[in-house]
Symmetry: C2
Subunit: 490 residues, 2 copies
């Protein structure tokens, strides 16, 4: 398989699909819409998981596990929730196969479930059915619980990581005694997601809330973080929902207050998914392949020997082992690729494609001069560096790469937020420059819907810190007090 990718400028979508497969992140499986996450891609996901899990636990959350299946009747209890998910559900109807008279394996019609089971698209219903048993008094609150799980939403048009029928995620589900506490939790988790995206993944995000039309099915408020991809399309990178008492009412979860009154419990839920892998790829990568922030790179430094003779390889390997040890002592993950089956040029291209942040090349002349060649993946620069003190230089450089990637993405994002005041401008910006469009909106679902139908742009969020100003809706001309963020989105 050629390592060469389609250029982003030629066909961004094709570039993405090729990159995900060629960099060994994921591939399509034989099951419609379901992906195989390959070891290299999964190693990146594991790094995300570990960091998020640490952040959740640090803020008092515990992990648990709830069933994959949800009885149809549970699912139907919260009206807007079932409306939101009914059209994309995998339904289990039978529990046995058998051989038919011709020896063919068929579904055993005698093993039909009395009540169908839904493969969870999200777990609010099964979890709130459980919380009813866990919550009696204010002393049992808050419940701060998270689960790492697979979920299924039957998607008609799928793309690796961005939209798949099955995906991996975490879903937090918390229960609180007061509205205020639940609101604070929902906002806290939005903050944690933003912190994670920016400081760990080097992806700048805008924090805001969703409009009614874009809210989670069953939520009173959806807090989100929105990122901008290199093609000027937005990507929702995480959401945190204030669910009010909707699920507590649907599942009859009440608690005795300190004063002995019975009240419904307040809820939040929040999640991020393997979709973040897509955001990662589309924020930092280039025409040569993946670009990984050092925090997320399974291999942070790769070392490639340049040699002609066996003797040269041996001498280089000895030095490489020394350097490896020094790097590992500083907590840096390093791979020395001394395979004799592949040429240095092939290896360079391979690790470029896979986004390894730093590459060290050592040849016989470098050995003589006590130097190495150090190449940065992000900006493709090379320099010759002394072997002495190399590990410390690399440690600093990894930190710098992490910062530079964030800054580059931030510059791109900030230069792609355009204020517009007319609908003509609005349409033109979307068609030419792309990115976020900051425009006045009259606050109605009708206008939101009409803009979407005309331009495919949706309101990504009402930013958390809006600039309040008098204005007129870019579409209807009606009065507006603040601008919201529109974009075409993944």
């Amino acid at each position: 398989m050629s390592k060469k990718l389609t250029k982003r400028s030629e066909d961004y979508s094709k570039w993405y699909n090729e990159l995900v497969v060629k960099a060994d992140l994921a591939e399509n499986s034989g099951v419609r819409g379901c992906m195989v996450i390959k070891p290299y891609g999964y190693a990146i996901w594991e790094k995300m998981q570990a960091e998020l899990d640490r952040m959740f636990k640090e803020t008092g959350h515990q992990n648990a596990y709830f069933p994959l299946f949800i009885p149809k009747s549970y699912f139907s209890k919260e009206a807007s929730h079932v409306d939101g998910f009914a059209k994309e559900c995998a339904v289990v109807t039978h529990y046995r196969l058998k051989n038919d008279e011709n020896g063919k394996v068929v579904v055993d019609e005698t093993a039909k479930l009395e009540e169908e089971l839904i493969v969870r698209p999200t777990s609010e219903t099964i979890i709130w059915d459980t919380y009813r048993k866990w919550v009696q008094s204010y002393r049992d609150l808050p419940l701060l619980i998270n689960q790492w799980a697979n979920v299924v939403r039957w998607e008609m048009r799928t793309r690796l990581f961005l939209r798949t029928t099955e995906f991996l995620w975490q879903e937090g589900h918390t229960a609180h005694a007061t509205k205020q506490e639940a609101l604070e939790e929902a906002e806290r988790m939005q903050g944690i997601y933003a912190d994670f995206a920016e400081n760990f993944m080097a992806i700048p995000v805008i924090k805001g809330t969703k409009t009614e039309g874009e809210r989670f099915a069953g939520a009173l408020e959806t807090y989100c973080i929105e990122a901008l991809m290199q093609d000027g399309k937005a990507l929702q990178a995480g959401t945190s929902h204030f669910l009010g008492q909707n699920f507590a009412k649907a599942f009859d979860v009440k608690f005795a207050t300190k004063e002995g009154k019975q009240e419904y419990v307040w809820a939040t839920s929040w999640g991020v998914s393997t979709r973040l892998m897509g955001a990662l790829v589309m924020t930092h990568s280039d025409d040569n392949g993946l670009v990984l922030p050092p925090n997320l790179a399974p291999i942070q430094v790769v070392m490639v020997p340049i040699y002609k003779s066996e003797e040269q390889l041996e001498a280089i390997s000895e030095k490489a082992d020394e350097i490896t040890k020094e790097l590992r002592d500083l907590g840096i993950s390093v791979k020395y690729d001394n395979r004799t089956t592949h040429k240095p040029g092939w290896k360079f291209a391979e690790y470029e494609l896979k986004g390894v942040p730093l590459r060290i090349a050592i040849g016989p002349r470098d050995l003589e001069n006590n130097v190495v060649e150090l190449a940065r993946r992000d900006n493709l620069t090379k320099q010759v560096i002394n072997q002495e003190g190399l590990a410390v230089v690399i440690k600093k450089m990894l930190t710098q790469i992490q910062i530079d990637l964030y800054q580059k993405a931030l510059n791109f994002r900030d230069s792609h937020i355009t204020k517009v005041d007319t609908f003509a401008e609005f349409e033109e910006v979307l068609e030419t420059k792309g990115g976020f469009v900051l425009a006045h909106w009259d606050g109605t679902s009708e206008t939101e819907e009409q803009i979407k139908n005309k331009t495919k742009a949706t309101i990504r969020c009402i930013p958390n810190s809006p600039i309040f100003e008098e204005g007129k809706c870019v579409f209807s001309g009606k009065v507006s007090t603040k601008r919201v963020l529109f974009a075409k989105a993944y």
Copy 2:
């Protein structure tokens, strides 16, 4: 809810069920046969996962993720495999719900799948369908891959952790160029499981192979580790399968050898599951509740203040904070329970029930005397210990508890392996003493089956290091060269 448990001697099965629920490990959900793993139980499972994951990676394995769903046709490709799993499959037949004329949520019959999807009971078929794309040449081998996942086997009679419709596990799936290498891998993983069970979970196990009748559906050889529970029943704690070329042939996975010949790939698969949680409970726990080996305890040390006045509590808390810091510096997890809502006696019972290995109690007199009372959960002994050097004493004691628990379980296990030479003895041992029965067997499935029908005992394994000796089958009287291990089992 009372903390009091049914005694093991009264009703072992009831004791187990109560303990799992009351110690907050897991509970039944509203979905038939599916459990909710509660935060405390899940924290123990996370410790198992972390250690196993470390061991897998240290031996060169990588994690990946494959789809939850398996097309029925894949599932049918390996004949003995489908026979083994067809009767316990959850089958997805539809992908949409809708509202009927009465507004009721029903399955949308127009959204019927062309081919039914099976919720994975194990992933050999979907993985080998993928490996076909990954393996072309000997250079692509071995593939050493593991996945952490949920699986579903439709069980009619379920018990928390031991037998549930959905359970969590890891499944390793490896591909090799030679039979020898695959055999070595299967044995290596059996060794890793045994090491993990004994040194991390403090559960002694016997390594062996399964008889043909007890093998995994599709395997040529199944390596297992067998543990003995306190009621004298055996529990299979992990299996590792040599699959030969069965799945490679079913999914047409060939590779080009160094010599350029096309050959089928050799396979193994291996797994352990949340069933280990059941083994953990039933190996170490007692009538007061859970007993946890320190390696697996989410809280290793709990500190409880004994006080009458506010002032006393403050003085104790100050000392407790010091001790906490010292313990944490040694990597010991500690909880100081200074809740004023519960009395010390209630707390003692609570942490006993939850199996916290060590409990520190501090009262005003202890403060004066610079001592604490230290209580071991495993043997229920108490002693008064100097505050000075306490952390080091505790660190050593935790190590000792881990060793003692293993030794205790080993003594129990070894005293429950009984050699018998007649079928009368065989039946008597099973009915009275229980445990493993070491007996001669003629090697036929017929005899195995008849013994099972008569006594409910199965051949747990043919031990890895059998004592070869002339003998006669305990049932048929035919010639036998070695003894095998029988037991009633979970």
